[in-house]
Amino acid sequence: MINPLRSEREAFRVLVYVLAVAAFVIAVVVLIRAL
């Protein structure tokens, strides 16, 4: 299980996951506003 506070490597991995979620949210928002 990922623990972002255990090591820098895991913190970096969590950052990548957060980025992916944020990119998805931004894409959905842009799409809804465009419709």
Partner: protein
């Protein structure tokens, strides 16, 4: 006590020490948990005025520079990449990689802060103008303060890296600030998405 020593230690831990987490990592863990609570309070205020209060976002007659903030986001995320590169370098005793990575991370972080301050100068509203302005400056300012603290840590790590203080066997002084820096970046991704995009 070093982490590898903890792994081979038998019996109860020393007084005031965890048997499972290095004391320095544990300190950062507790600090970041308290930081998440502070950001949570600011986000509560943000969602309160938008969802409960139904306020227009951004305030009427104002505009948030999404493009500049987006570029600034890319700059900050790049600094996390270079931070990760620096730590991976020192783990394989690549001191050039460590130095180049730390210096680049610091410069990218400083650029982010500079662009943020420049944005404040040109944005055209102030914290006292309306609730939206208060929340905008509160959230982005709180994050900016964390970037400043992070830059201070990065500056110390960079100086130590150039003095040859780190190696593949001793790099906790890079690892812990690295965790903090990634936390600062994660918070910015959330702040950027909620404040500028939603």
């Amino acid at each position: 006590m070093e982490a590898h020593a903890l792994e081979h230690h038998h019996g109860p831990p020393e007084a005031h020490r965890s048997s499972r987490v290095d004391a320095r990592t544990l300190g950062m863990l507790l600090f970041i948990i308290s930081e998440v609570m502070i950001f949570g309070a600011f986000f509560t205020a943000y969602f309160f005025i938008r969802v409960v209060g139904g306020a227009e976002w951004p305030a009427e007659g104002t505009e948030l520079p999404k493009l500049i903030a987006g570029v600034n986001t890319a700059i900050l995320i790049s600094s996390s990449l270079t931070m990760h590169w620096a730590l991976e370098s020192v783990k394989s005793d690549n001191r050039w990689g460590l130095r180049a990575g730390m210096l680049t991370t610091f410069l990218l972080g400083a650029t982010f802060l500079f662009v943020q301050i420049n944005e404040y100068v040109h944005i055209g509203f102030s914290p006292q103008d309306h609730a939206q302005g208060t929340i905008f400056y509160g959230l982005t300012g709180l994050h900016g303060a964390h970037v400043f603290v992070g830059l201070t840590l990065l500056a110390m790590v960079t100086v130590r890296a150039f003095r040859g203080h780190f190696s593949s066997q001793m790099h906790m002084g890079v690892e812990v600030p690295g965790i903090y820096w990634h936390f600062v970046d994660i918070m910015w991704v959330i702040v950027f998405t909620t404040v500028y995009i939603l």
